[in-house]
């Protein structure tokens, strides 16, 4: 029978899981230890979603090639008026069309 799990690999995965869980719980532990949250930190926290998620988008648009940049731009325009699912569909069509007819 084929091997399901190798001990060294399982250890590595368990350590990766613990490191990841620490990041998911760590910020909560740190922030709830503070007596009160200063206004500037409040402003900083409220910027977290846009600030972090942007770093997952812009580098992809800049370094992912002209086809990726095109699809993201089209989806951005679409996203100003529609919801997420429509953005995904329109962006996907854009990249497929672009690759078919422009970059080959």
């Amino acid at each position: 029978m084929e091997t399901l799990f190798r001990p060294d690999m399982v250890w590595l995965i368990v350590c990766a899981a613990l490191a990841t869980y620490a990041t998911r719980f760590g910020g909560y532990v740190l922030i709830t230890r503070m007596k009160r949250i200063p206004p500037r930190m409040e402003a900083a926290l409220s910027a977290v979603p846009a600030a972090v998620l942007t770093t997952l988008v812009v580098p992809a648009a800049v370094t992912g090639g002209i086809d990726m940049a095109f699809a993201i731009l089209v989806a951005l325009v679409a996203g100003m008026r529609t919801g997420t699912m429509a953005m995904l569909a329109i962006g996907w069509v854009a990249v497929m069309v672009f690759r078919q007819f422009v970059t080959g």
Binding site: L12, A16, A17, T55, W92
Partner: protein
């Protein structure tokens, strides 16, 4: 079951579906890449089940194949996932009412879209209940596991994700989440700083540090800009955000 509760569950399932659709291809991709890099399907599934962070899973299996020291692999995964520290700090105000056990379970499922959805719900004045949170979380978690197995079984059949255009889905999905926060104070300066910062960091420092460094740029701008009268400083030229 009260109608309020079933409305919550319906809302969570509807949002969970959108997340699962956009993240699903990456679970398949992860399963395929993992098997391609020498993991067994069981190991790949274990990784999806207990690490449960797509980008870092892909980074991890990529490194498994390169004879990299184990501690360096763990450090890389930690670096890719470091943004979650910010998430759990920011989400604290919305889930204070969870019991300790609920927090332990809830933080395990805290992925980018779940954070963004919970943050938006809490911000709009709706209570982020444990039932809503877990329904959304599990409705993404289970497909993630199943699609990892599927990817592992399909193995190399998928080939290049670019060929079927699924490589654009995740960036676009994340951009949709970003747009959801466009009515917040200082949205444009924050996005601009994060965007420029992450590209610069990618160029000068390299991946995956560009995520943390770029985010830091945006967050610093938010902390430094005046906070009073956020409404008046709404950037001009953007459409008013409608109710999603």
């Amino acid at each position: 079951m009260s109608s309020e509760r079933s409305a919550e569950i319906r809302d969570a399932l509807r949002r969970g579906l959108a997340v699962a659709v956009s993240a699903g291809p990456f679970a398949v991709l992860f399963g395929a890449v993992a098997v391609d890099n020498g993991l067994t399907i069981a190991e790949a599934t274990l990784m999806s089940a207990i690490v449960y962070a797509g980008a870092s899973q892909l980074v991890g299996v990529e490194l498994f194949n390169h004879n990299v020291a184990p501690w360096l692999i763990i450090l890389s995964i930690f670096a890719v996932n470091f943004r979650h520290v910010l998430y759990s700090a920011a989400i604290a105000r919305h889930i204070r009412h969870f019991t300790l056990g609920q927090k332990l379970a809830g933080f395990f499922l805290l992925i980018d879209p779940l954070f963004a959805e919970a943050e938006r719900r809490g911000e709009s004045g709706v209570r982020v209940s444990f039932v809503w949170y877990m329904t959304l979380g599990i409705s993404v978690y289970l497909p993630w596991l199943l699609l990892t197995v599927l990817g592992g079984v399909l193995g190399n059949l998928i080939g290049d994700p670019r060929a079927i255009g699924i490589d654009v889905l995740l960036p676009i999905y994340f951009m949709g989440l970003v747009l959801g926060f466009r009515s917040r104070a200082n949205f444009l300066p924050v996005v601009f700083a994060s965007g420029v910062g992450s590209v610069a960091a990618l160029h000068f420092v390299g991946s995956p540090w560009h995520v943390s460094l770029g985010a830091l740029a945006g967050i610093t701008v938010a902390a430094l800009l005046p906070t009073d009268g956020g409404e008046a400083e709404e950037p001009v030229g953007l459409p008013v955000k409608g109710e999603a």
